[in-house]
Amino acid sequence: EAGVVQSPRYKIIEKKQPVAFWCNPISGHNTLYWYLQNLGQGPELLIRYENEEAVDDSQLPKDRFSAERLKGVDSTLKIQPAELGDSAVYLCASSLTARADTQYFGPGTRLTVL
């Protein structure tokens, strides 16, 4: 079974530029999560999708961050414009349902903003 796929794995951009991250969850998983992980810290939830609906985006900085999950499968997380403080690893995870015990994580995208 293929795991959660994320791309790109690494991204280096200059501040004020836009950037987008893509995630393909495990087939059949209807819940998808985007997390932010700063260096030396645990992941923090940005947004959770159940199918195509964003049901928890309370931690998403909506002035510059946006996300979508068209057709309830793949998802894209966008930052526009990026700031220096956005440098971090962006992790995508999926679970069978929102009540499932286990979340399955992708390898993450490491973003460096110069």
Binding site: Q41, G42, E44, L45, E50, A93, D101, T102, P107, G108
Partner: protein, 114 residues
């Protein structure tokens, strides 16, 4: 915000020794989970213990939970070089809708020396 406080932040032991990591949390939980993260990779689910359980085993892993002290410990016995990784505890906050929302600790960086 992160609920879990993990102790120690870093641990270095010799191969074959046992490694113990501790996690404390602040609010009532439904369950507590431990995840492993190898350098540059996503998180991998290791074990889950429910609030009505006190101890759980999985292979070389042993997890305990003390809800009165709001703490948990992860013991890895007979450590191997491949156990070198960061270990995170994650507590769930059962939402009104019943969805699981994980809150991660800051992690313990474990190094196994050959």
């Amino acid at each position: 915000s992160q609920q879990g406080e993990e102790d120690p932040q870093a641990l270095s032991i010799q191969e074959g020794e046992n490694a113990t990591m501790n996690c404390s949390y602040k609010t009532s939980i439904n369950n507590l989970q431990w995840y492993r993260q190898n350098s540059g990779r996503g998180l991998v689910h290791l074990i889950l213990i429910r609030s009505n359980e006190r101890e759980k085993h999985s292979g070389r892993l042993r997890v305990t939970l003390d809800t009165s002290k709001k703490s948990s410990s992860l013991l890895i016995t007979a450590s191997r070089a491949a156990d070198t990784a960061s270990y995170f505890c994650a507590t769930d906050a059962l939402e009104i809708q019943g969805a699981q929302k994980l809150v991660f600790g800051q992690g313990t960086r474990l190094t196994i020396n050959p």
